[in-house]
Structure formats: structure tokens, C-alpha cells
Symmetry: D2
Subunit: 330 residues, 4 copies
């Protein structure tokens, strides 16, 4: 249940929050209290304080499009979601590997008129015996690209021990699929106001995914972007299965911007261009594409990264698709 | 292993077929023998009969794009696959319910310039207590629409007891997801030369799916069209999960035309338009869309069928997407 | 909805069946009419004919334990289900391959005091290029073992083209996982009174599985045994995932005997003994175990068949487990 | 690759570790270096330092039974794994809720001769609007039970922000299914020597699961226990699907003790007793069972917790099963 209380009843907020065991979001002229969806009505004696009431069926509440129209999130000076028709392309290598590599990635963005650079500095690998990223040094390389080219930087937080460093250096904080349930990260991301790119866990239901968005939002940060990146199914010829039916669901029932990641879903570069075009045709707010100056020597996810040449062709090919659905690639 | 033998060695065919335990396909000027992919070479004394040899890694053989370039299949006078750039839209209700209903569906096709009518006469339901279709009467209603409007008819065979009737009345024989493993149907469909629309079982791997195409092809009918219609995953907010990563795989590794069915994958009409546009952007050969004059009263799959109005809007919206990927909706 | 009507109202049966679109089961002193579970009550003017009424939530009706207590099925002179505490072991090779092989399998049964021989004559393979069984010759070999040793024969029907031959030769007709949705087979099996061993499709939900049992039962044959044999999941280190949680569900909510098949679930012989013991500890009515005189040369499923030595050890080891849960291995 | 180097070459350790990018485990008389499994041999000039070499196929290395025989882990004064035949039962409520509740749980353990108490203080919920546990106060209540009754305490770490508190108060640190990929937790748990009960993520493959065990072990803590608790599949009648085929795999290929959690897998108390007996018959090292003085009012997982009466009956019933497979319930 979501209760809006005008600022004029400021003195009642604490009492109400305690009574309904609710999170409190402070807005300019009002307070928003969010409690369990199991609560279906306010007590009669509290009714006078309520300016707006939303009763939800499930614990997807702040993200529910019935509660709030489509929300807008700003990435640098680009707005996505809301009534905007931008489809942002966030691109770059899986891992930041060197100054030279990240400089080449930046040149690729410039050539294609793009402004959002991605790259992993802290990599959440499933094997302990593989490359875990450059860490802070990687962040600093990304930071330099922002200074030099005015890019917005999107990078992933692997675990809560370095979430502060990520928040400091990134413009968009990416919560990876494996970290979707990490309360330490979620709580901390709820305390910043930077945009959060929340990836769906590959074993997570849509319900859990949206509840996780509510987790961050109820802690205070409503700048959440949902990212579908493939779920785990019985099919193993491809790395994961991109769940576009699920995307149709998210578009219908939630108010958050949606960015899709065909690279991780497919796991093989050959399928990425077709899938990227399909994603754009789904009428969504953004794409995350992995590209590397030389995929063969990439330190992680070598098979799925596009060459720079393939990437530039892809960008050209998605523009008419975006136009066909009334969108603009930015 | 696939062995091509010139007609000049006709007298050796039986011996070779027996030796390699192979299926024999008779062509104008040659014979094609197809045996297990475990056989990796021909005996030296047989080499003189071999005009072409294809050694495969797995039992996906006749459908392998490394063996044979993209195959063309004709549906009426529309060619799909091969080097053609047509994306055929096959539309109509889930079940044939009445003369009036199927006449209305036909009018909808005419209005949208389409020529392929689908409708189920034998419905493979999972509950015994639900509508199983009009049977032969349904087939005859479809047949009348062909005569009246020149449509091609696409209808589903539920089990091998009526496969002959379906072959007689349909232009394209649809093998449903639940029938993908039905050897009785597969064998019989291998003996006709009508196009077979083979749907992927919702629990079937891509490997099994393509092997099933090989099943039909090795029995003599190479006019097979692959149809992805959603696989079963842990996500239940949508009926199934449309596997577009799998479609990327099929496009890369097989030579068969591909038609997609977003209606069954989604299970809810609200998501069908977005998904249909995504499918078209995947650069595939056709769409299967369910639409009903009055979905609310449909005897099967009521939730997923588009109204005629929604359908016409959808058709208009997919044309520019098709154009964007160099395709034409037919 | 299930309606019991006394034989005294015999003249009303046809009218009632038509009105409720119901299947009719003729019993000694009454008729049982089974219609859709969506029907929640009988018309007032029909009430006088109803001796018993069962309103179900879903289309699992005849198999519902709330409708009918645990049902008994006889395999030869062994009773399973109901209040019996027998756990029958049905064993033998995956495929019948030769007279000699099946004779050795029979000797193994005799040594272990078992009486139910399984063996596939018609094999439903997913590749067309692999061994599909000996067909009718295989059935006849099994038949000879019955005559010679008094065994009951359990064998699989692959498709509806040979279902009559199977019914003629087998004591228990096995419907394989891939045939679970085959209406041709289901209908025909509903018309015999021989026990049907219905395997769960590896992509089938429990709901669909039990509805399929209802399919056979509503057609007239209530001798249905449920067989869980592994479902398809994202885990591929093992062939399938044996769903014992699902078995707990079936035990709680259905009235049918349950037989488990650890061999197909695991796909590797090393895991079969542990799993077989776990199955027995689940307090179920039977086991299906694949064993071969020489698994290495088996023409199908070589990896999962136990040697005869491993099998005999397994039988010894499951007896105390059966005893621990108040069961007897037969 | 795992390289053992005698202490006599202590001065070479750092050089070797750097060269092979390896973790270093210090043992009494030797050092163990663990690098990527992609490295298949040591350089000739390093051969003289190698006392033992293990080349693995995958990054499951320290947990590989071909590298090291079955490992023993001590929980209080009970040894599991290795050549021991103990099956430990760890029981208690899902969440610690009050002093009174945890006292009742303790009495239940005493009555049944058990010594390991579980209870969640930090709950990793998927909804932000539900009970997240008593936190530190919960830990202290558990601690009091240890002091009073000599129990060993098993409790879960939700995220890395409180991992130190858990390590301080618990005898066994449980890493929950949702935390399996949390590097912050894994790294910290690798630095203690307390036993780690590592639960398999419900979307994690066996390969990833065992690699995660290697993650902890390579960081220095070899006291890892694997816990299968159900994976997510298409079947939703039960909460998860207990993967006993996977357990057979783990028993065959890894050297770690295995504890099973039928409560979470099933999600409904009615199935827990049958499943618990099946687990014991799998010949494993322990069970995790949730039981609550009054499940109906439990603050989390109410449906799956046994009453104390059901629990005591369960314990009686698993003893003969354990005996049947040569095990002892402790």
C-alpha cells in the first residue's frame, strides 16, 4: 500500500510509518509511505492525513504503472522513459583491460555519435580462477574518458565492498544479474540518486525482478532502469534465452525504462545484430552492446563481443528499425 | 553422413543404402543417401560411386546450411526462404468455430492483402474436458474459403489418425508443438510433398527440433518450415518464452525457412504487437498470428487472439519494420 | 464436474451427457458422467438423477484423491496402489535387441525374484538416423518370455500406428514421455482395460500430466499408473532432473499408483542406485530400472543401463529401504 | 591446475604464484598453488619444485574427488564427510522471531537428541515490504541457546555488510541460495576457518555451484559443505525442484560433504517427510529441516515449516532409512 501525506501533516509521518511498517520517501510537498501490499486499507482515524492512496495486489508497487505513469530517467543529458522516444545505445567492452583498449572503444563511440561508455572494472565471475577485472584502476580509466570526451560512464558493481567507489566514478551504476539479490548493494544504491541499471537475475522471475526495483526505490532512489539480459532455460546452444515476452509484460505493467542486453543473452556475436534489431523493434528505451577492438584476445566474454566494424554496421542497421517504431537512436 | 550417387550407379543404390543403413532420396539425376552422422567416411571400394559427400558433426544433416544453401519453400504462389525476401503473414482464429466466423476471418485477410488462412480443426488440448475442434467439418469450412478466395490453408494435425484428411485439405500441414515427437505424423508427412510447418515442442532443444526436420526430410519431403512458438521456462507471467536467441541459432546453422508465432509464445494479446514487430526485425520468413472476430467468446486460447481491429493495426505497423530489414510483408 | 447416476435412470443418461457435454463411464450399478470442471453445479431439474456429485477446481477430476480414494491397479497378479504396500520393480533393457539378450534379462529377473520384464520394441528416438527398435519381432520375443516364465510384459507404444499390436502383446502399455500428448494413443488406450503406464512428458507440468491421466480414464480405462521419469531443466550434467517434489504433490493430490524411473532421469548408470533408493524411500508403488547384459554395446541409452551385477546389488540394497518405509519389493 | 610445493622451496612460492596467477594455500609442510584449469602443465624449469601436480578439466579443482579424497568437516564435535557415516540433522525455524520461540525450538532439538540449531537472523527476502529478520538481536538469541544447551548454531549471512557479525556468532555460516554469487561474502568466508554451508543458487548450474566452493576454498577455507535446496524449473505446483540427480553427480565428482534442504525445495510441509526420507536414502551427510512451534503465525516461509509434532515423527521415521543405507542420524 502506498500512502501520500501532505507536508502539512509532517508531524504525523513517523507515527504513520511505524503503524504501517512503511518506508518513507520525502518529496517537495509531501511524504510517500510504502508498506506491504498485504495492507489493503488505512485505519479510519488516519484517513484525514491521506491525500492519495494506492492499494496494490502484489509487492510490485512503486514500479507499478497503475500507481505512477511511465517514469523518466536521465543519463547525462539524455532522457529515457516517460514520454521520451529515445533509445540509448550504451556500448563498450565487457571488461576494461587497458588504457589503449578503452581509448579505442571511445573512438568507436565518437564515430557512431554515441555518448554512453560501458566497461567492467569489477567482474563477477563464477570461477575464482579467471580475470576479475582491473578494479579501481579500471574505474579511473573510464573516468578519464568521461573527462576527455564528455561520455556518461556505465559500470557494474560486483559486491557491496566497493559500491561506494562505483557510485563515485560512474554515471549509471549497473547491478549485474548475479548481484540482483545482494541486499548490501541494493540498500546502498537506494541511498544515491544516480541512475541504477538493474539487470534481471538469470534465475529470477519477473515478479522478483520488479520487487527488486521496488527495493531500491523504497530506499529512496527512484531512478531505476530495468535491464533484461537473458534467463537460464534448458536450451544451451545459446548462452541464455532473451525473454522478450517478459519485456512485453514489463512494458505493460511497470513504469520503469527498459534497456535490453542482447550480447549476454546470446553469448555469441553472430546472433547479436539480429537480436539487437528485434530489441529495438520492441519499442524499448535502450540497448547494451558489448564490442571490443579485438574480441579474440578479450579477457572475458570473448565469444559475444562484436568487432568495431560489426558494431558500426549494427548501429547503421538499427536506425531505420527505430524509425519504424517511432524511436530515435541516441 | 550424406552421400550423393549419380543415377549412372542406380544399380548400386540398394547395396549402399543397406551397407550404411541409410535413407534414400531419389532426385532427377542422382540419389541422396543419408545415414547416421556417426559414420565419418565411406569405404574405399564405395568411393567411386560417390559424387558428393557431406560429413556432419551431429544428426542435423539435411537441414544443415553447410550441406545445402538456404532452401526455398512455396506456399501457394509465394516463395519463402532461399534468397527470397518475403515475410508471409499467416493469420486466422485459433479454432475454426463456424461458417460465419471463418468468413469474417477471410474478409480480414482480404482487407489486409493477405492470402494465407490458418484455423484449427483438430485441437490438441491438454484437458479432455475442453473443445477439441470441429474436425472434418472444420476442414471443409477452410476448404470452402480456399475455393472462394484463392487462399492457401494452414491447419494443424493433432494425431496420426486424421493426418490423411489434413493432407487432403490443407496447403500447409502444421505439426503442433505437442506433436513434434509423433513418429506416426512425421513419417506420414515425409511421404507427401506439401509444405510442413513444424512447430518446436515447448520442451524440445534446438538440436531435437532440427533433427525432427531431418526426420521428415529423410523420409522424402524437403519442404519443411521451422516454427518457433515459445519454450517452457520458469517464467509464468507469460504463457511461454519466445526463444529469439534460438532463432538466431537456426538462422545461422540451418537451411530451412523460419516462421514465428508470437501469439502462442505470449499467450496474451497485449504483448503480441510488440513481439510481432520484434520477430519481423529478426529478418525471418513469416509470422503466424491468431485473430478472432470476437476473442472474448473464442472456444480456445481466448486471451491471446487479437481483435480484427488490433490485427489490421499490427499489419500496418510491421510493414515499415520489414522494410527496415529489407523484407516485404506478403 | 463428475455426476454419478444410478442405473435406474439409465434412460436419462444420453440427455444428461449431451447437456453437460460429458464423457460417460458405465459401471455395474451406475453411470459416471464427467464434464468440464468449469461447470460447478447441476440444473435443479437434474438434481433428482444425481446420486453423487463431485465439483473440481481444475480438470484433474477422475484422478483427484478428493473424488476417489487411492486406486488399485493389477499388474499380472501383483496389486499396486490402493491400500497395498507393494513396490514393484519392472526391469529389463532399454531396447529388445535379440533373443539371447532378452533371455539373459529374463534370467536376471528370475535370480532376483522379479516378474515384470520391460523392453522397447518401438523406440521413439529424436534422431531419424538411430535404431528405432525391432518392432513386431521385438514384441514377439517379449511374448515368448511371458509364455516361458510367466512374466508380465511392459513395453512402449511409440505412435498410434502400432498401438493395437502393443495392446495385444503387452500386459502393461507404456506411453512414453514423448507420446504423452499423442491423442491417437491416448484415445486408443482409453478403450482397452489393460494397465497404462503413463510417463510424464519432460516438458509437461504436473497439471497437464494428471489431465492426461484423466484423458485416458474419461475414455473408459481407469487402470492408469503415473510415471515420473525426469523433467528438462537448465542442468545438463545429468540427462534430466527427477522431480521428487512433484511426486510428493502427486501422492498428496491424486489417487493413482506412482512408478518412478531413475534410469532415464539420471542418464548415467553411476547415479541410478542412489536415486533408486531415494525413490523407494519416497514410499511409491514401483520402479522402472534399465539393465543390459552388456551396456557398452547397447543399441540405445547405453550410458544409463546397469550391468546385471550392479542390478542385483541394487535389488538387495533397496529391500531394507522398502522395509524402513513399510513397503515390500516385488 | 594445482601445484604442491614443499616447504623447502618456500622462497620460490611468490615467483611461482605470480607466474601461474595462482592462489596460495599454506599448509604445515607444503604450499598449494591453484591456478586456472586452462594451464595444463608446468614449465620445465619449475618441475623441480613440484611435489604433486593435478591437472583439471574445468575450474572445479580443489573440490574435485580426483584431486583429493572425500573431505571431512566438523560441526561442533560431529564429523561429517570423509569416511564418516553421520547424517546430521540441522533444525529450527526459518526466522528467529522471539526468545520464547527459539527456546521452544531448542527443547524440540533436545527431545530428539539433536544438537544443531538453525534460525535466520538476517533474511534475504525478494520483497522489500516483508520481514527481514531480527538482525543482531536474533544472533544473540541463538548465541544464548548455544551457551545454555551446547548447541552448534547455523545461521545465514544475507549480505557482506554483516558477515563479520555472523562469523562471530555462528558455528556454521550459511550462504543462502541468493547469496551464492556474492563475492563480498565468498571472499570473507574464505578468510575464516569456520564451516561454510554453501547453498546452491536456484538458477545455478552444478558447475557454477562447485566453482563457488572452489572460490571459498582457494581463498583459504576448505571447510565447505554443499547444500542442494531446489532449483527453479517450469513446475510451479511446488516451490522449487529438489535436484537429486544433481546430488548423485556431486557425490560422484566432488569431495565435499553434502547436506540437503527438502523444506525450501518443496515449499509445503506436506511433502517434507517423504522428501526427507528420500534424501537420507541418497546416502548424504545431513539434512536441513525447518520447523516452527506454530507454523501458521511464522513471519516467513509459513507454508513449509513442520509443526513440532510432525518434526518428531519425521526424525523417528528417518532413523530406519538411515540404517538401511548404513548411516546414523545425529
Amino acid at each position: 500500500m502506498i500512502i501520500h501525506v501532505s507536508k502539512t501533516h509532517e508531524n504525523k509521518i513517523q507515527e504513520l510509518a511505524q503503524f504501517y511498517d512503511a518506508f518513507v520517501l520525502k518529496k517537495e510537498n509531501e511524504y510517500i509511505l510504502v508498506g506491504s501490499s498485504k495492507i489493503k486499507k488505512v485505519e479510519p482515524l488516519h484517513e484525514e492525513y491521506v491525500s492519495k492512496l494506492f492499494v496494490a495486489e502484489t509487492d510490485m508497487q512503486l514500479a507499478d504503472v497503475k500507481y505512477h505513469p511511465k517514469r523518466e530517467v536521465k543519463i547525462g543529458n539524455i532522457s529515457i522513459g516517460g514520454t521520451h522516444r529515445n533509445t540509448i545505445v550504451i556500448a563498450g567492452p565487457c571488461s576494461v583491460e587497458s588504457k589503449d583498449q578503452i581509448e579505442q572503444s571511445s573512438q568507436l563511440l565518437l564515430e557512431n555519435g554515441l555518448t554512453s561508455l560501458r566497461g567492467g572494472a569489477f567482474k563477477p565471475r563464477t570461477s575464482p580462477y579467471t580475470f576479475r577485472g582491473m578494479g579501481l584502476d579500471g574505474l579511473k580509466l573510464l573516468d578519464r574518458m568521461r573527462e576527455k570526451y564528455g561520455f556518461t560512464i556505465v559500470t557494474e558493481v560486483r559486491d557491496s565492498t566497493h559500491v561506494d567507489a562505483i557510485i563515485q566514478y560512474a554515471d549509471v551504476i549497473q547491478i549485474g544479474a548475479k548481484a540482483m539479490y545482494d541486499h548490501g548493494i541494493l540498500n546502498r544504491c537506494g541511498k544515491t540518486n544516480k541512475p541504477i541499471l538493474l539487470k534481471r537475475g538469470f534465475g529470477a522471475t519477473l515478479q522478483e525482478f520488479v520487487q527488486t526495483a521496488d527495493f531500491i526505490m523504497s530506499a529512496g532512489n527512484e531512478n531505476v532502469i530495468l535491464c533484461e539480459r537473458g534467463i537460464r532455460t534448458f536450451e544451451t546452444k545459446t548462452r541464455f534465452t532473451l525473454d522478450l515476452c517478459g519485456v512485453a509484460y514489463l512494458k505493460e505493467y511497470t513504469n520503469l525504462p527498459i534497456i535490453l542486453d542482447p550480447s549476454h543473452a546470446m553469448g555469441y556475436s553472430y546472433g547479436v545484430p539480429d537480436l539487437a534489431r528485434a530489441c529495438v523493434a520492441m519499442d524499448i528505451d535502450g540497448l547494451l552492446i558489448e564490442t571490443h577492438p579485438n574480441p579474440k584476445v578479450a579477457k572475458s566474454d570473448a565469444a559475444q563481443q562484436l568487432t568495431h566494424d560489426e558494431f558500426s554496421k549494427l548501429i547503421q542497421s538499427i536506425k531505420p528499425v527505430a524509425e519504424a517504431v517511432g524511436r530515435k537512436i541516441v
